[in-house]
C-alpha cells in the first residue's frame, strides 16, 4: 500500500508533466526518462556531497561505512536533513528544467518526429554517460542518501511521512498545472498543438511557448526523480532505461491526453498493475513470470482503451476561463481555486485516514 502510493505519487508527477508536453502542447517527448534521471542524480549527489562537505568527512563515495555514517548524521540532525531534502528537490527542478530548455532548444525547429528521436537518444546517451561518470558513482550509482525523515524510529511512520510530503508536492504540481492550462496560456498551448502555423499567424511565439513548457515539464520530471531517490535511498544509471518513458506514455494514453486528472487516473491504473505483478511474484505456483505478465496487461489495456475510448478514460475537456461566464455560457463552471481547495481538503482527509490506518497497526 505504502510502496504503491509512493510509486503512484512519483509517476503522477511524471504523467502530469508529460501531459503538459504531449497532451496540451503537442511536443512528443520520448526522452522523459532523461530529465527524470537528471533530477534523481542531482538530488542524490547534492544530498551526499553536501553531507560529506559540511561534516568534512573523508569517506569514499561508495561504501558501507559511508551509508552508516550518513545515516547517523541524518538521524542526529533532523533540521539539516529536511533542509537538504527540500533544497535538493528545488535544485533538481531547476537543473532538469534548464536541461529540458537547452537540449530541446536546437531541436524545436524541426518536426515532432525528429524532436522525439533526438530526445530519445539523449536519454540513452545520458544513461551511458552516467555509467562512466565517477563523481556520481559510475555504473554502481550512488548509495547512502539518508531518508529525509531518518530521525524517526518507527519505519512505517517514516514512510507515511514521506508519502505525505511527496503527495503534498504532487498536489502543488497538479494545481499549478491545472491553473496553467485553464488560462489564456493553456489556450495558446492547445493552439500550438492543433496547428503550429496558424498559431504563429495569430501572433503566438511558438518557439518560446515550447521552450517554456519544456522547462516546466522537465523541471517537474526532475522533482519526480528527486523524490524517487529519497524514497529508495539509492540511484543507479540502470534505473533510467528507455522503457520508463514508455510507461509514462502508457499512463497518459490510458488516462486521457490533455486531461490532468486523466493522467493521474492512468498512473493509478498502471502503477496498480505494477504492484499487482510484484505481489504475484510471491506466489510460487504462478505459471507465468509476473514481470512479463505486467507488460502484457499494460499492452492489452492500451489496445482496449484505444479501441473503445480513443481519447482515454477521461477525455479532454474544454478549458474553463471566465470568458464562458461572460458570454452567458458554462455558468456551472467552478473556478479553479475552488476545485483546488476541494482537492486539498480531500487529500488531507485521505492522509488522516492513512495515518489512522497505520496507528491501528496496518491492515
Amino acid at each position: 500500500m505504502l510502496s504503491w502510493s509512493s510509486l503512484f505519487t512519483i509517476y503522477s508527477i511524471l504523467a502530469i508533466s508529460l501531459n503538459l508536453e504531449i497532451g496540451f502542447t503537442g511536443i512528443s517527448n520520448f526522452g522523459k526518462v532523461a530529465f527524470y534521471g537528471i533530477g534523481a542524480f542531482i538530488a542524490a549527489s547534492f544530498g551526499i556531497w553536501s553531507f560529506l562537505l559540511v561534516f568534512r568527512l573523508a569517506y569514499p563515495l561508495y561504501g558501507l561505512n559511508t551509508i552508516i555514517a550518513l545515516g547517523k548524521i541524518a538521524a542526529a540532525n533532523p533540521l539539516l536533513n529536511v533542509t537538504v531534502f527540500f533544497v535538493s528537490i528545488s535544485l533538481s527542478f531547476i537543473v532538469a528544467g534548464i536541461f529540458g530548455y537547452l537540449i530541446t532548444y536546437p531541436t524545436l525547429r524541426v518536426g515532432p518526429a525528429f524532436l522525439g528521436i533526438t530526445v530519445l537518444s539523449f536519454g540513452e546517451l545520458m544513461r551511458i554517460f552516467l555509467r562512466h561518470f565517477k563523481p556520481t558513482g559510475a555504473a554502481s550509482g550512488l548509495m547512502g542518501l539518508p531518508h529525509p525523515f531518518a530521525w524517526i524510529n518507527d519505519s512505517t511512520m517514516k514512510s507515511a511521512l514521506f508519502v505525505i510530503s511527496a503527495l503534498a508536492i504532487m498536489v502543488i504540481i497538479y494545481s499549478f498545472s491545472q491553473r496553467l492550462v485553464n488560462s489564456p496560456y493553456g489556450r495558446a498551448m492547445k493552439s500550438i498543438r492543433e496547428d503550429e502555423i496558424a498559431a504563429l499567424c495569430l501572433g503566438k511565439n511558438v518557439l518560446r511557448y515550447k521552450a517554456q513548457v519544456l522547462f516546466i515539464a522537465s523541471g517537474f520530471s526532475g522533482v519526480a526523480g528527486a523524490l524517487l531517490v529519497f524514497y529508495t535511498g539509492f540511484v543507479s544509471p540502470d534505473l533510467f532505461v528507455t522503457s520508463v518513458t514508455f510507461d509514462i506514455w502508457a499512463m497518459v494514453i490510458v488516462g486521457g491526453m490533455a486531461n490532468n486528472r486523466g493522467a493521474i487516473l492512468g498512473t493509478a491504473v498502471i502503477t496498480f498493475i505494477d504492484r499487482l505483478a510484484a505481489i504475484l511474484n510471491f506466489i510460487p505456483w504462478f505459471p507465468l513470470d509476473p514481470n512479463i505478465l505486467r507488460w502484457m496487461i499494460t499492452g492489452i489495456l492500451i489496445i482496449v482503451v484505444l479501441m473503445f475510448r480513443p481519447s482515454g478514460l477521461l477525455p479532454e475537456r474544454t478549458l474553463k476561463t471566465p470568458a464562458w461566464e461572460t458570454i452567458g455560457l458554462g455558468s456551472k463552471a467552478i473556478s479553479t481555486m475552488e476545485r483546488g481547495r476541494a482537492l486539498v481538503s480531500f487529500l488531507f482527509k485521505l492522509m488522516i485516514k492513512i495515518v489512522d490506518w497505520f496507528k491501528a497497526g496496518g491492515r
Binding site: 492543433e194 496547428d195 496558424a198 495569430l202 474544454t318 458570454i327
Partner: protein, 254 residues
C-alpha cells in the same frame, strides 16, 4: 507613396534555382480592397508568405504603415496589425469556436507564463475579450455555435471564423488567400458582400487573392496580375480585363 498602407518595392524570392517571385512592386492603399490574381503557380501565395514573414525576401523592401517589416517573424507582423487567412481554413479543430476567437487578440496578459497562474491578473482582460468576441460573432452571424468544436463546423462557417479571428485580433490589413474557394457562387458573393461591409464598418483594408474573377472584379478597387512570378499588369478591374497580356496569360494566345 504617401497614402500607401502596404508598400512592396522590388521584392524577389528564389527557391534554389526557381525564382518564385521577381521584382514585385505593389501598393495597397488604406481602406481599399485590392485584388491579386494570376494563373496557378504564378507566386500569389508565395508573395503572401513573404509579406507575413514566413519567408524572408532575397531583395527588396516591404513597408507597412511606414515602417519596414521585411525579415520580421509571422508573429511579429501579426502584432503590427497584419492578419492573414488561408486557402483552406486553418482553425484549431479541437478547440471550440469561442476559443478560436479568444486566441486572436495580441498582448494578452494571461498568455505570459508568469501571469498565467494568477487569475486576478488577466481576469478583467479575458472578460473584455469575451465581450468583444460576442460582438464579432453576432456581426458575422456566428452566435449560437460558441461551444462547438471547429472540427464540426461547415466549410462556410470555417471561413467566417477565420475572418472573425482577423477582426478579433485588431488587424488593420487582412490578407485573404482565396476567401471564396470551394463555396457556391451565391455564397462567394455573400462573402465578398461581407468583406465590403467590414471595410466600411471597421475601416479595414483588404488584400485578396481570388480565382473567381467574375466575383472578385465586382468588388475590388484595384487589381494586380501576377504571371510566372512577375507583375504582368495592374489597374482598375476594367483596365485589367482589357489588357491583352492578361487575356493571353489566362486563356492563351489567340
Amino acid at each position: 507613396m504617401s497614402d500607401s498602407f502596404l508598400g512592396i518595392v522590388g521584392v524577389s524570392k528564389r527557391f534554389g534555382g526557381v525564382e518564385a517571385i521577381k521584382d514585385i512592386n505593389i501598393e495597397v492603399k488604406k481602406g481599399s480592397i485590392t485584388g491579386l490574381i494570376g494563373p496557378n503557380g504564378s507566386g500569389k501565395t508565395t508573395l503572401f508568405n513573404v509579406i507575413t514573414g514566413f519567408y524572408t525576401p532575397d531583395s527588396g523592401e516591404i513597408c507597412f504603415k511606414g515602417s519596414r517589416i521585411d525579415g520580421f517573424n509571422p508573429n511579429e507582423t501579426y502584432t503590427l496589425g497584419l492578419a492573414r487567412t488561408f486557402q483552406s481554413p486553418r482553425l484549431f479543430p479541437r478547440l471550440t469556436m469561442l476559443e478560436n476567437l479568444l486566441l486572436a487578440p495580441p498582448h494578452q496578459m494571461g498568455e505570459r507564463l508568469i501571469y498565467a497562474t494568477l487569475e486576478k491578473k488577466w481576469d478583467k482582460q479575458e472578460r473584455a475579450i469575451a465581450i468583444d468576441s460576442k460582438g464579432v460573432a453576432e456581426r458575422l452571424l456566428l452566435n449560437g455555435i460558441e461551444g462547438t468544436l471547429t472540427a464540426d463546423l461547415s466549410g462556410a462557417h470555417m471561413k467566417l471564423v477565420e475572418t472573425a479571428r482577423g477582426l478579433m485580433g485588431g488587424a488593420q490589413l487582412l490578407l485573404m488567400d482565396e476567401p471564396a474557394a470551394g463555396v457556391l457562387y451565391s455564397t462567394a458573393r455573400e462573402i465578398f458582400d461581407y468583406i465590403s461591409l467590414l471595410r466600411k464598418e471597421y475601416g479595414l483594408t483588404f488584400f485578396v487573392i481570388e480565382h473567381r474573377l467574375d466575383v472578385l472584379l465586382d468588388y475590388v478597387d484595384y487589381v494586380y496580375v501576377l504571371h510566372l512570378g512577375k507583375l504582368l499588369s495592374e489597374g482598375t478591374p476594367e483596365e485589367v480585363m482589357k489588357d491583352k497580356n492578361v487575356i493571353e496569360a489566362y486563356v492563351g494566345q489567340s
